[in-house]
């Protein structure tokens, strides 16, 4: 089995995440989004979706947003309006995270072929943190679209 150790610079290239986010938002939502250096604005309720990586790379793709962005994303995906984070919104956010994870790993051929994805897990609530212990590397970017924001994090805790 090939090793990812020699191509770690490609795997951890932060531009791959930006291109993946732009691609998913443009194709599936029909909206432009841009990288934003600012931290996420605090909102009472937030949504976090996690898709795990397994294989040559182990870790996770984590999507996080406040309810404003989550409701807008679900509305763009379905053509419906939402006023609360219901099961359809959670389902939509899970799928966005799934597509982000797939698009990101697809940018490195060796990773695309030798790294599987878990089904998405979605967490909603108030005042919680996601803690990852000493990852091998981590890429954390925030993005903006339609006056709201979200964050995407790639956490790699093992690379073979």
């Amino acid at each position: 089995m090939p090793s990812l150790r020699e191509s770690v610079h490609l795997v951890s290239d932060p531009r791959n995440l930006d291109v993946s986010v732009e691609e998913v938002f443009q194709l599936m939502l029909g909206v432009r989004c841009e990288r934003d250096g600012l931290p996420l604005a605090a909102e009472p309720e937030s949504v976090t979706a996690v898709v795990g990586f397994g294989g040559l790379l182990s870790g996770a793709c984590v999507f996080r947003s406040g309810s404003t962005a989550a409701l807008k994303i679900a509305a763009h995906m379905t053509g419906m309006e939402f006023d609360e984070i219901d099961d359809t919104v959670k389902d939509g956010i899970g799928e966005i995270c799934n597509m982000l994870a797939g698009a990101w790993k697809g940018k490195v051929p060796n990773l695309a072929a030798n790294c599987g994805l878990s089904v998405p897990a979605v967490i909603t609530g108030r005042d919680y943190n996601l803690h990852v212990q000493a990852p091998e590397f981590q890429i954390h970017h925030t993005y903006r679209f339609e006056d709201t924001g979200f964050a995407v994090t790639i956490v790699c805790d093992g690379l073979r």
Partner: protein, 127 residues
């Protein structure tokens, strides 16, 4: 105009709606859509409904899309009906596995309605 009977299999109800919308945007106005949230549900549906094309996700809990496809062929359900896999998995290896399992087409998520049209319409003409 002849109805196009479609089975869409995906554990995400949002993705099933997006695929249906893409098919309608592709010009399939006479679409009759059957939905299944898993491979097991999809197999049950195929025992009672006739369809013209099947679009299935790969990465699903309990029975993934490749196993669903193998079971369709093994149980001779929907003989001659084209199956298109729609998935985030995009490597050559995944495409090869899908073709070996009996898929006639492969669409990578995220996708455009145009891509759905290009992959699905020719299969309906030859089916």
């Amino acid at each position: 105009m002849k109805e196009i009977r479609t089975l869409i299999v995906d554990d995400s109800s949002v993705m099933r709606k997006i695929v249906e919308r893409a098919l309608r945007q592709a010009g399939l106005d006479t679409l009759v859509v059957h939905e299944a949230g898993s491979g097991v549900e999809g197999l049950d549906l195929l025992r009672t409904k006739q369809v013209d094309v099947i679009l299935s996700d790969i990465n699903m809990p309990s029975m993934d899309g490749l196993e669903f496809l193998r079971q369709i062929r093994a149980q001779s359900l929907a003989p001659g009906v084209p199956v298109v896999m729609i998935t985030t998995e995009s490597s050559e290896e995944h495409v090869k596995q899908a073709i070996q399992a009996g898929a006639q087409g492969y669409i990578r998520k995220p996708f455009t309605a145009e891509q759905v049209k290009e992959r699905v319409l020719p299969l309906l003409r030859t089916a």
